[in-house]
Subunit: 436 residues, 2 copies
């Protein structure tokens, strides 16, 4: 029976999951592959900590290059995360003619162009199902099953930490800081949660999805990124009164030669499937010109689910290695020369509905002042709530607008925030109506 | 640029969708494939009806064998449906060394063994993403992305007609017959809806999913199949009071060397994602040992969505044809010799919770009689509703049981249905608790 050897760099949480699958499902994978896929070497700086799996010590090394330069290893699995030395290792693996599997969304979002170009030049594959939405097979759905479709849009709940926090605020009425602390205590949030809660992790994943869906390179810095740290229980209460949940959405759309690429808290109608994605779960919703809407839902993180995605890629590459010819499906779904360079549409060009929460002094005429300024900027009000409750010396006024331009909204809020009667910077949440 | 020729047999609804994709997205597919995929011949008995697409008359033929025996055609797309002549055509295509794509679930559920064995012998691929859940890429998710997982269970809402009818009964309180007539008028149900509403179409699809998920042949006749024609608005009202929706579920599980393979109306908790799958939409929920639960949701039927699935398969085969070697992924995810022959667990061995609705005369003691018989068969009652309303000279008694054996339930209901005070055969709906 043929044998294909893989090497692993990074024996952290996901790496340990990968080892577990290799051990537990070896026979199953062998049956499905018609060949043996073997984990031949594992590199990590720490090879002494007990990770709860029994590993033959002969497989372990502290030298990544022992994996990268082993001529028998055809597949390198990079699971160390971060930019360096991951980038150097991945490029070295490619230079050595090895296929690469990575779960490293930060690396791909910022250095994907370099990595995919190098892979194409070397005739090797770089696969990365585990980099977006954990175990959910969204990358292969785009590259393979839906590849006869022109993808119109991609929407994602891609960060389990944020979704866990928003779900608990929504369901229990707790405040952001309280839930964050609890999430940290339970291991659902990092000690330094900035990457997650400020939306950066979600933006990394969105960059990858946009490249795949629209066949384009995308400048990561041009993705508008806003996190959830300003969302309060009050906003989720009001959202519900208007018929919405608040989710941190990654939004990618292609229209008129420009890409919408944005990550921000978003009001989603309660009866929309994305509103039901709770807790640490992730979901991705694609809109194809023929398939229509397709939604994939599952565990977006965690040792086992992410390892499942890594091993799906490993099996795919193994299947390719049993045949001959060029890389079967290029990393981004088409050859580098076919990639477009669509610019990202500036946020000022956005048109949509907005939720605006003002904190104002409880005086007559304040609503008239706010409405007047909004009107001056062509913004009309769809509905209004002015509950009788005081928060920090101010009362909330909540407005939902009709469709309005983001530039107009920005200009109006600049004026309103400077009013004497306004005690707090306006809380703005975008409403996503194009969810089909 | 290399060119790969495909032939189409059957220019009905889906076939027309396939032609549309070939026309509309040719450039896109060429970019992604790095080669040209061309529809070279189309066979249908009727080549004169206007189907709303412009087709070069030179491509059209009334002779299926002109497609099947064209040496230049490498991929045959079978979209005529039914058992014959579809079976003969598919076997002929295989005999001619061609790869086959089919959307024909009835054919595969009953003649899959013969077809897949013939394909393996000839070294060709038979792909069938379009046969289950329309545009939703569930077949490739099982065969490819999740192939490092042992699949524990598969649950599906696989028939748009049934789901449309159940959704409208649930939301509008209409009766089955009324909604069915309306669905027929709107084209959501066939003139003869038997295959759909009696669950046979769902069972065909379940047979395919079970083969893939558990790597086994399955005897179609052994799948327990119960449709939705006995479901009334009353059942959906009671279901809601208990916190459930009613869905026609396809259920496949593997445990202790036997398969659960059953299609029946099922109570699903309202907060479960499957309960939110409304109207003509389909969804499949898989439970893998590493990935955990994954749910895929989308359009389960219709010209465009189903054609998207056909073309995803066509692109996959085209990608394989650009390389050399044996079939990349066998039709059922593993070689024929590796397939198991797990028997289907008899329904009598099932253990679960049940919803029971009795129609009884409004006399004292009737509940005691029913409860007594249930108790004699080791069935205990979790909750009870006895609303004061008369229907056809009887009043309903509704019970939810604790976990009980199906054999015990059957024996008890046989006794109860024969009681003088009982005016109507008991309405039984199974409750699915193992939805994780």
């Amino acid at each position: 029976m043929k044998e294909i050897k893989a090497g692993l760099i990074g024996l952290g949480t996901i790496g340990t999951g990968v080892v577990k699958i290799f051990q537990k499902n070896a026979e199953l994978m062998e049956k499905r592959l018609g060949a043996r896929l073997r984990l031949a070497k594992i590199a990590d700086l720490d090879i002494t900590t007990d990770r709860g799996v029994a590993i033959d010590p002969a497989l372990l090394t502290t030298d990544a290059y022992a994996v990268l330069r082993d001529p028998e290893i055809k597949i390198v699995i990079e699971l160390i995360g971060g930019y360096e030395p991951a980038r150097t290792f991945v490029l070295e693996a490619i230079a050595q003619g090895k296929h690469v599997i990575t779960a490293n969304k930060a690396l791909l979002a910022l250095h994907g162009d370099e990595i995919f170009a190098a892979a194409e030049k070397q005739g090797v594959n770089v696969m990365f199902e585990a980099s977006v939405a954990g175990g959910i097979p969204v990358i292969s759905a785009i590259k393979e099953s839906l590849c006869a479709n022109r993808i119109r849009s991609v929407l994602g709940i891609l960060n389990g930490t944020c979704n866990y926090i928003l779900t608990r605020i929504s369901q229990e009425g707790l405040e952001f800081e309280t839930v964050l602390k609890d999430a940290q205590a339970q291991g659902y949030a990092e000690a330094d949660p900035t990457f997650d809660i400020e939306g950066i992790d979600t933006a990394h994943k969105l960059a990858i999805l946009i490249s795949l869906c629209f066949g384009t390179r995308v400048d990561f810095k041009s993705i508008y990124t806003e996190g959830i740290s300003r969302i309060s229980a009050l906003d989720l209460q009001f959202a519900k009164q208007f018929g919405y949940e608040i989710k941190l959405l990654a939004i990618g759309k292609l229209g008129y030669g420009k890409i919408e690429a944005r990550v921000h808290p978003t009001m989603v109608p309660v009866d929309h499937p994305l509103a039901d994605v709770d807790g640490v779960f992730n979901a991705v919703r694609l809109q194809g010109d023929f398939v229509g809407p397709v939604m994939l839902h599952g565990r977006g993180a965690g040792m086992d689910a992410t390892a499942s995605a890594v091993m799906g890629d490993a099996m795919a590459i193994a299947r390719d290695l049993l045949r001959k010819g060029p890389v079967r499906t290029p990393s981004l779904g088409c050859a580098q020369a076919s990639l477009a360079d669509f610019p990202v549409r500036p946020m000022d060009e956005l048109v949509g509905q907005y939720y605006l929460r003002f904190g104002v002094l409880d005086r007559p005429g304040v609503l008239a002042q706010i409405a007047g300024i909004l009107g001056n900027h062509d913004i009309s009000i769809l509905s209004m709530l002015q509950p009788e409750r005081q928060i920090g010396g101010a009362v909330p006024i909540v407005l939902m607008t009709h469709e309005a331009g983001e530039a107009n909204i920005r200009a109006a809020l600049d004026e309103i925030d400077r009013l004497d009667l306004v005690r707090e910077k306006c809380h703005l949440i975008r409403i996503e109506s194009d969810l089909a």
